[in-house]
């Protein structure tokens, strides 16, 4: 009885809403139950641990970046003038100062743009003449690993293609990916590493990350494990998205092969891409990189997406004879199972039948 009263009073105290009488009642009870004094001490010592959230979203970055945005908006949106109507010299000089700064910024951007254009063109000419490009193709049913001329390691997942130069130039490293790959990029301060993947470009200095950009998939995913990358959208060159470790960027892809699937019109610009902080994982074992250990981790995936994974992993073609099955949700972890075992396991949780005909699998 008294113990639950202690908890009740502690809750009030924690919420800063205990009256003086209640506080002294609590103190009296705690002196009789010293073990609860320990509980109280622990509750008092609980602090939001900064390290978890901040590891993913550093406070400094948020404050500086956010403030920068806010002042930009304050300066450009109407209705931010002093409402009292009292003109004062300070604000005038500020205003002038701001204009000056904006012009300076615009000029700087212009100069940079010109410079980079020149640089890019000169580099482009050079690299075209100097390098031979190679293509690594991994067919469905297998994965592969290649080491590029700079020591960067690339693990390619099933059904993927990587186009890369035999030798990188000293100033730039560029590759093109179709499908899924995990990159461990070697550090090189003066030669940024650029991955072209469908409608995005990922720019890195030295880091480990996963890109999933199959043409037929609905989304392009970039998952960063360590380091820092910058992602640019091809259809919106202005947009540069910085990713920090343990973040995943998802960009909506419009697969050309599937024109039936029309995105809802209310999907706004903001929704075309999304940055998520990945939930804390043990030893960096993320769903996104499970394929590196030949695992397939499914959490509430549409059967339709799962079918595509199976097609790549087992080099089969899946037909939905009953198209209602496409919407079924599938969860599970698969590792060493063969395709028949996988289907048998799926059958335990989802109602369907299958027929295997050589490399063709019919689901009904």
């Amino acid at each position: 009885m008294e113990k639950s009263r202690i908890i009740e009073l502690m809750a009030k105290k924690t919420g800063n809403s205990a009256s003086d009488e209640e506080l002294s009642e609590l103190a009296a009870l705690l002196s009789r139950y010293p073990d609860y004094a320990y509980l109280q001490e622990i509750v008092l010592s609980l602090k939001g641990s900064r390290n978890h959230f901040e590891r993913n979203i550093p406070r400094e970055e948020l404050v500086n970046h956010g403030w920068q945005h806010l002042t930009d908006r304050l300066n450009t949106e109407p209705g931010n003038e002093v409402e009292s109507g009292l003109p004062n010299e300070r604000s005038f000089s500020n205003q002038f100062h701001l204009y000056l700064r904006r012009w300076a910024a615009a000029a700087a951007i212009f100069v940079c743009a010109c410079a980079s254009l020149l640089y890019y063109r000169s580099y482009y000419n050079k690299s075209q003449s100097a390098t031979v490009s190679k293509t690594a193709v991994v067919h469905n049913g297998s994965t592969s690993e290649i080491t590029l001329s700079d020591g960067t390691r690339v693990r390619l997942n099933a059904g993927s293609k990587l186009i890369y130069p035999e030798h990188f130039s000293n100033t730039s490293r560029e590759v093109t990916l179709e499908g899924e790959a995990f990159f461990e990029v070697t550090q090189s301060a003066n030669a940024p590493f650029l991955v072209h993947a469908g409608k995005i470009k990922v720019r890195v200095l030295g880091t480990r990350f996963n890109i999933k950009a199959y043409k037929e998939d609905a989304d392009i995913e970039t998952t960063l494990i360590s380091g820092k990358v910058q992602v640019m959208l091809n259809d919106d060159e202005e947009k540069k998205i910085m990713l920090f470790p343990h973040e995943k960027l998802t960009v909506i892809n419009e697969p050309k092969s599937d024109p039936v699937k029309v995105r809802a019109p209310e999907v706004s610009n903001e929704l075309r891409y999304q940055v998520q902080v990945l939930p804390a994982a043990v030893n960096n074992n993320y769903v996104e990189t499970a394929w590196l250990d030949h695992k397939m981790v499914l959490s509430n995936e549409d059967f339709e997406n799962v079918a595509r994974l199976l097609e790549r992993k087992y080099d089969v073609t899946v037909y939905f004879d009953n198209s209602a099955l496409k919407q079924e949700h599938i969860s599970g972890v698969f590792e060493k199972e063969n395709i028949t075992q996988v289907l048998e396991i799926l059958k335990m949780t989802t109602r369907f039948n299958y027929r295997i005909n050589g490399n063709e699998i019919h689901l009904f």
């Binding site: 908890i7 800063n16 609980l46 948020l62 404050v63 970046h65 002093v82 939930p279």
Partner: protein, 185 residues
């Protein structure tokens, strides 16, 4: 905080505004993130709120409690965004995702082992989302139960009940470890 507001309202003091921003941006960002789970949008929501605050700085003195005001503004702005995106009418409190929030004991303040620290952290992490959010707002953001009740539009009693749930969980967990504290002489 109140002197900051006065400086903003009567002197158009931008440095005061920046101070107010820096002091609050991180916790408001986390609060917005709990609704929307999108870094860009959460940041935009926080900035929307501060932009509005600056625009109507002439009437700042009508705000009774700036803490409550800021959180409520974040909640409403987030609700607007969510409505636009999902056409949901009201924010469903059960949908809060506070997965990225941890409370951990400060070993300097309480006598605990590392192992116990981990146990406490993971058990708080497993509290139901609403309970965890309330516990976080109280413990980390330093809001009182009455303020939390106002912000989340729930009764004061509910807030206390949720806090009690959190404490009971800790009590249960600590039972095997509970031992008398050596009171400082």
């Amino acid at each position: 905080m109140n002197t900051l507001l006065k400086r903003i309202q009567f002197e158009n003091d931008e440095t005061a505004f920046k101070e107010l921003y820096e002091e609050n941006v991180f916790k408001l960002f986390q609060f917005a993130y709990a609704f929307i789970q999108n870094k860009q949008l959460a940041e935009e929501i926080v900035n929307d709120v501060f932009l509005k605050l600056w625009q109507k700085r002439g009437s700042l003195d009508s705000i009774k409690n700036i803490n409550v005001y800021l959180y409520v503004a974040i909640k409403n702005t987030a609700a607007n965004y969510l409505r636009k995106l999902t056409s949901k009418k009201n924010i469903d409190h059960e949908r809060f995702v506070v997965t990225h929030f941890y409370l951990s004991p400060d070993p300097e303040q309480a006598l605990i082992t590392n192992e116990l620290k981990k146990t406490i952290e993971s058990s708080i992490d497993q509290l139901p989302p609403k309970c965890k959010l309330i516990f976080k707002l109280v413990k980390e953001d330093g809001l009182s139960s009455t303020e939390v009740a106002e912000i989340l539009e729930i009764s004061y009693k509910t807030v206390n009940t949720q806090l009690t749930i959190a404490l009971k969980k800790l009590e249960q967990l600590l039972k095997p470890f509970l031992k008398p504290v050596h009171l400082k002489a």
